[in-house]
């Protein structure tokens, strides 16, 4: 008797699942302080458009490093999510290891993929060996954030355009009693600001599979950082503390990714905030690294329904209204032509601070991945080296460059 009841309950529940035909896909993304609002804004419309797809959000990744690492571990343990958001500089290792899957079969079956706003130049950020492995979701560039009230109080009227002008501004502000004139985002993920100083000189940190930290351009970058840190007497703040201090109105100039603009504006104190283009070494920068992340398919499911649902989600967040939410809620730019030009047509006019990064788009260069398995460790070595400049531990940039080159060489394949 008991057995039959159990069986009946089982049958009933099974048929209930069948009736709804809900497909569940699992999804994970980094930086909850930036993107929580974005996905919250997207979900209602997505649920309406695709009522039978349920997106299960996994715990957010703390950073892009954490994102890569979590995926690698999940690949070994066999519980990969269906879709994951990965930093643009961390896509290559996942493709090398066969974890991220090619999107070509899905793209081939789409009738008007181009019309949805995906076009070559933007897809190129996630194209490896002529195969598309990801759909870029959000693109950022480094910009300057200025607290105009502090700048005025410090006697600065014009936004600086080169680092020398930034340093001069620091000194003027210090002389006028501003304690905390600058925060320069050296500790941003993936050595992004180092790459920014290198691209500014049109030099790539990885060239033909070789890490070019031994180049004269790298030395220029190190010396430029040292000059900024020491002459501005920059405090060694943790980046989250720096962002909150800037939002609270304690810091005059902050150089950081445009991505944080949404978060900063949401918690902004009572002051006038203006963004300006990223300063260059002499004159405007010649290039800047593209930050941001791309959606990658990592589903291990054989069920075509799950795979299709994953693709639907991937496409939704990177095109149309989904992509437009990225610009509305963060400082990122959606790398989607249709979203940028049609839905967001007058958005940038109303939000001139978010326009700054769009103006810099012609400078867009790749955010490069370090070759081999030790990308994360190499990132840490460079991070540690720059920290030594900030804390004043390293004073001789030639020696520091030498040490950094040696330590990185240890971590390179055949090194």
């Amino acid at each position: 008797m008991k057995l039959t009841t159990t069986a009946m309950v089982l049958v009933l529940s099974a048929s209930a699942v069948f009736a709804e035909e809900k497909v569940t896909i699992e999804f994970a993304y980094p930086y909850s302080h930036l993107f929580d609002v974005t996905y919250e804004a997207m979900m209602p419309a997505f649920k309406e458009a695709h009522p039978n797809i349920e997106v299960k959000f996994r715990a957010t990744y703390e950073s892009y490093e954490d994102a890569t690492n979590t995926i690698l571990r999940e690949a070994v343990a066999g519980n990969l999510p269906d879709v994951t958001m990965q930093g643009l500089n961390r896509q290559a290792p996942l493709i090398d290891k066969g974890i991220a899957q090619s999107l070509e079969p899905f793209i081939a079956s789409e009738a008007d993929f181009e019309k949805d706003g995906y076009h070559e130049a933007m897809l190129s950020l996630s194209t490896f060996d002529n195969t598309v492995y990801g759909l870029p979701f959000s693109i950022s560039l480094p910009v300057g954030y200025y607290n105009i009230d502090i700048l005025r109080a410090g006697g600065i009227e014009e936004l600086p355009t080169t680092w020398d002008e930034v340093i001069a501004a620091c000194k003027t502000m210090k002389a006028n009693g501003i304690d905390n004139p600058i925060f320069w985002g050296w500790n941003i993920t993936g050595n992004w600001f180092v790459q920014a100083l290198l691209w500014s000189q049109d030099s790539a940190i990885v060239d033909g599979g070789r890490v070019t930290l031994d180049s004269p351009e790298a030395l220029v970058a190190l010396e430029q950082m040292q000059e900024i840190f020491t002459e501005c007497e920059m405090q060694n703040l943790e980046w989250k503390a720096a962002l909150s201090s800037f939002s609270a109105g304690d810091i005059g100039m902050m150089f950081w990714s445009t991505s944080a603009l949404g978060a900063v504006e949401r918690s902004q104190g009572d002051f006038e905030l203006v963004t300006g283009p990223f300063p260059g070494l002499d004159g405007a920068p010649m290039g800047l690294p593209a930050g941001g992340n791309a959606a990658m398919l990592t589903s291990t499911s054989d069920d075509p329904k799950v795979r299709d649902a994953a693709w639907t989600w991937l496409k939704y967040i990177t095109s149309g209204d989904g992509a437009a939410e990225v610009a509305k809620t963060t400082g990122y730019m959606p790398p989607n032509k249709a979203a940028n030009e049609i839905i967001l047509a007058d958005f940038y006019e109303q939000n001139p601070n978010k326009q700054t990064a769009v103006d810099q788009l012609p400078l867009l260069r790749d955010w490069l991945a370090y070759p081999g398995d030790n990308g994360l460790a190499i990132t840490q070595v460079i991070y540690d080296s720059i920290e030594r400049i900030v804390t004043g531990d390293a004073t001789d940039m030639n020696a520091l460059q030498q040490e950094m080159v040696e330590e990185v060489a240890d971590l390179l394949p055949n090194g």
């Binding site: 490093e65 690698l72 571990r73 690949a75 304690d179 804390t391």
Partner: protein, 321 residues
């Protein structure tokens, strides 16, 4: 002969049967010990000679390269300095404070229970959660510590160099300052750990025979210091060996505070890059299982060494039964 054999046979059988039962009964525990303790240690030792990275299909043997790097690279030099600074600072101070607090509490009687609870509170609290509370307190501008210090500005205390400089250029950044970072961690380690040592010493104190004090007094030990030197301290010998060993092992294991304060990098200039954090960073965050295993093996060697010293001391002379 044959008669003798016949007599012994059932006895031997009985012995065999008993041995088999004994092994059978011990087998589950043995199997578990081998499976969850010894096998992982062996795996770690084997992996420490490889360059295995998580997610790779295969790996190469690299010999002692990982160990060679441990002893030649400046990063690991910083790791050893941070770890030993922590151990050398935290162990004696937390043991000393533990003993002092235990003797004071022991002399109090009833009210002592209140102190016991107060000193033991930090031990019961999760260090990770406490670290976050400390992080708030140590915030350079809005934290309680610097706010309190700033209250001294404008008073006579400005004459002291530390306050004078602090009032003029701002008080230390604490967690972001390479000169202070490791000492902040040490302070929190002591604050958190000495209550535990106190409890261990309290247990030790109750087992010191009263008669010994009376005897000492009759023999002319009048002052409190004499009584401590001649009776309490020797009688606490076994407890001290245990407390020091446990404190050492716990100090080597410090991780929560570092991870909470500096999830990336292990302190300004790696000044608080302790071994446990290094294992975590290399093995878990960066997937470099090879070098991570090498640090783990070294860590095990240190802990084993400490345990052996403890055994040797216990067996030698510190026992007054």
């Amino acid at each position: 002969m044959a008669v003798l054999d016949a007599d012994l046979q059932p006895l031997r059988k009985e012995e065999n049967r008993q041995a088999r039962t004994a092994w059978g009964l011990a087998a589950p525990a043995l199997a578990l010990m081998i499976l969850i303790l010894l096998v992982p240690v062996c795996v770690a030792i084997v992996l420490s000679f490889s360059n295995y990275a998580l997610g790779n299909p295969g790996f190469d043997w690299v010999g002692v390269q990982n160990y060679e790097r441990l002893f030649t690279r400046s990063t690991y030099e910083k790791m050893f300095i941070a770890t030993f600074t922590y151990v050398v600072t935290v162990v004696p101070i937390s043991v000393g404070l533990g003993l002092g607090a235990a003797m004071l509490v022991h002399s109090l009687g009833r009210i002592g229970d209140i102190y016991k609870t107060i000193y033991f509170l930090p031990v019961m609290a999760t260090l990770l959660a406490m670290a976050i509370a400390w992080e708030f307190m140590l915030h350079p501008t809005i934290g309680m510590v610097n706010r309190t210090l700033a209250m001294a500005c404008g008073t006579w205390m400005e004459a002291i160099a530390f306050f004078g400089n602090g009032c003029a250029d701002g008080f230390p950044l604490w967690l972001r300052d390479r000169d202070y970072a490791i000492w902040v961690v040490c302070f929190i380690g002591i604050w958190q750990g000495f209550g535990f040592n106190m409890v261990l010493y309290l247990a030790g104190l109750t087992s010191v025979h009263r008669e010994l004090y009376h005897a000492a007094e009759m023999d002319g030990a009048r002052s409190a210091w004499e009584r401590f030197r001649l009776v309490t301290w020797p009688a606490l010998g076994p407890t001290t060996v245990f407390v020091v060993t446990i404190s050492c092992i716990r100090a080597f294991q410090v991780f929560d505070t570092i991870e909470a304060f500096w999830p990336q990098g292990g302190g300004p200039n790696k000044s608080a890059y302790v071994m446990m954090f290094a294992i975590f960073e290399k093995g878990v965050q960066q997937n470099l299982i090879g070098i991570g295993s090498a640090i783990t093996v070294l860590f095990l060697v240190f802990v084993m060494f400490l345990t052996l010293i403890q055994r040797w001391l216990v067996e030698r002379k510190v026992h007054y039964g």
